[in-house]
């Protein structure tokens, strides 16, 4: 009997101990979660310092997102456990709609001064993109990392080409010229490009999705709870990629287990973003020259080339006691001065209009010429559609991608149609 009572006491104690460790912030403090990327932590540090100097009554405490498998899961855990911060600045645009519909985000357009400020900073096309299904705005477009085509200048010149390929035909042509079996063992060991053959849903952001946006001038995947990508653009993109793998212009084996294959000239191009620049500058061999250009488009395509920008946005959770003050703090992050700091400290592009022509930033781009092309592209950058099941949409597309592009078991028409049908099943009530 004694033991039983002791056991019950111990268990209750343990429960109390674990339950009592809640992350409550003090009354006045605004809790701001930034990503745990080193540069972004430094950025947050500076902005918070400046704000705290000018606003001692409403201090901001910045904190990198707690450790975990992925920041998305951490946020979900925080929402479920009701331990959300006041501000979170690394939310992927595709996640926002689900949280908005769950009612855990503050409708920012109800805050004083928000709409004026945001229309001054961002393109109206961007604002339409981030508007939720119910007409409100729950996120602030903060930064983008556009996907473009990086290419090895020397390899292009060696093939006698005047420049990097812009259309699918030019791409095939260059691929054929570059394809080689260097060591004569009967297996090709040099490919024009490479994209991971993973079926993971987010891998499509580095192949299918930017190509689709480029081909279709920024068309939607889903709209009004329906799949709208069953069109000639998606089919063309699937066909383009399927041909690349069928003709072994893209390697089907996993090349990531070695050292960087682009810098080693094993591949001549890659679909990638500005983050690669820092890595390339650090590790490139002597004499290696590279640059970026737009994503390839179908032959006959006219007009600017769109792409995907991996947008990360800022949100305010409803648990925040003073959203107006939180907004005032966020404003300091995204003024021209704040955006310039973002560029200088993290080398990531603010999602601001006229980035390439605004004199405030001209110095930065003169010193960082490789970033200039991203600034010019930012007008044609698309994020994601506002849908609460976006992850699944990409997962279903990925499965058809695997069957068609990598294994050649379906025609592009069949694959795109099957993907659209599967997506539409998601929306059945």
């Amino acid at each position: 009997m004694k033991i039983l009572i002791n056991v019950i006491i111990i268990i209750s104690l343990a429960y109390c101990l674990t339950g009592c460790s809640s992350k409550k912030n003090s009354h006045n403090e605004i809790l701001y979660w930034c990503s745990n990327n080193v540069d972004e932590i430094n950025f947050a540090k500076e902005i918070a310092k400046e704000w705290n100097q000018g606003n001692p009554g409403r201090p901001v405490k910045y904190q990198p997102v707690p450790e975990g498998r992925s920041s998305e899961e951490i946020i979900l855990a925080a929402v479920v456990g009701k331990t959300t911060p006041d501000i979170y600045s690394n939310m992927w645009q595709g996640d926002v709609e689900a949280y908005a519909q769950a009612g855990v985000l503050v409708a920012l357009d109800t805050l004083k001064g928000f709409l004026d400020f945001i229309y001054e900073r961002c393109d109206s096309a961007v604002i339409d993109e981030i508007r939720s299904g119910d007409g409100h705005i729950y996120q602030i477009p903060w930064k983008i990392n556009p996907i473009m085509l990086i290419y090895n200048i020397k390899s292009i010149n060696d093939m006698g080409l005047s420049g990097p390929p812009k259309t699918y035909s030019e791409f095939f042509d260059a691929s054929k010229k570059f394809q080689k079996d260097i060591n004569g063992d009967g297996y090709i060991d040099r490919w024009f490009g490479y994209s991971e053959v993973l079926v993971t849903w987010w891998q499509r952001f580095f192949d299918f999705y930017p190509l689709y946006l480029a081909a279709s001038d920024g068309a939607h995947l889903v709209k009004d709870n329906k799949a709208v990508f069953n069109n000639e653009y998606a089919v063309e993109v699937f066909r383009f990629l399927q041909t690349l793998y069928k003709k072994n212009y893209f390697a089907r084996e996993e090349l990531t287990a070695r050292q960087d294959v682009f810098l080693a000239s094993v591949i001549a191009t890659r679909f990638t973003g500005p983050w690669e620049i820092a890595h390339a500058e650090k590790f490139k061999p002597k004499g290696f020259e590279y640059d970026y250009t737009t994503m390839p488009v179908p032959d006959g395509h006219k007009g600017p080339v769109y792409t995907y920008g991996d947008p990360k946005n800022i949100v305010i959770f409803k648990s925040c006691k003073d959203p107006q003050a939180a907004w005032n703090y966020i404003k300091t992050m995204i003024t021209e001065e704040g955006d310039l700091k973002l560029l200088e400290i993290t080398n990531q592009l603010p999602r601001r209009k006229n980035l390439n022509r605004n004199p405030v930033f001209s110095n930065y781009f003169t010193n960082n010429p490789k970033m200039k092309i991203f600034a010019e592209e930012s007008k044609y950058v698309k994020g994601t559609d506002a849908s609460p099941v976006l992850k699944e949409v990409f997962d279903l597309i990925s499965q058809e991608y695997e069957a068609c592009v990598i294994y050649g078991e379906k025609t592009p028409e069949e694959a795109v149609k099957d993907a659209a049908d599967a997506v539409n099943l998601l929306f059945i009530k």
């Binding site: 009997m1 039983l4 979900l76 929402v79 479920v80 689900a98 949280y99 519909q101 769950a102 009612g103 855990v104 079926v199 993971t200 084996e253 609460p388 099941v389 992850k391 699944e392 499965q399 695997e402 069957a403 294994y407 078991e409 099943l425 059945i428 009530k429």
Partner: protein, 286 residues
Amino acid sequence: MINRKKILPYLLVSPYILHFLLFVSFPVAFSIILTFHKWNIISPMEYSGISNYIQLFNDKTFFKSIGNTLIFLVIHIPLQITIALFLAEILNQKIKLRGVFRGAFFLPVIVSGVVVTILWQQLYGFDTGLLNRIFTGIGLDKIGWLIDPKIAMPSIALMATWKNVGLYIVLFLVGLQTVPPQFYEAADLEGASHLQKFFKITLPMINPTIFMVVILSTIGGFSLFIEPYIMTGGGPLNSTVSAVLYIYKQGFFYYHMGYAATLGLFFALIILAVVVIQKKFIETEN
């Protein structure tokens, strides 16, 4: 005045009652209720009638996952029983160092499935995996163990057999030792060969052990999850998605709690049906 003696037994079993209510009866009841709702954890539950069930019956991938699990069982169980029986029979003879050999066979059993999976992922590697290197070394073609949709699940079944066969060797050894030696002695007098003794005496006598092994492996096989999760993520072409992996994905990746509960309920009923059929089969055999 409470009669201490009388309530004592109830106090002793009370932890079980609590546990049963909280972790068995409530979950089962809640599970059934959940199948009629849509819920993604962060929003309130939404009544949805039988739409989850309709979705289930249209879900090609779910039925493929059940099929994949069955393919796994159909390969894994006979393979395992054959090898385990063979090695147990050998170990049952008077051999030296039996303990050492038995210990070696049993080693993979105690190690975590995670370790075995990471290890075999390397052995199965197409370009530089140990198995393919051996194959090309002796002049055979490379095999796409994990990248050929037709071979991927059998490869996982092979790995699972390797991992578990030691346990079943041990179980068979116990069963073999229950066979009275007089039977063998009588057969020896009649000049029976080893094979004849095995098929006419040993096998019938250890039928109960064989049936037990079948049921254990079946229940274990239906919980296949961590191996495909780590090794292939369900690919290629969804050929290695096990039922539990699919349910996990629906519930803990997409947070379709209602739909995942529906899948779980349906799958649990299938397992119960299979086990009941197996038990009935054993009863009629006996």
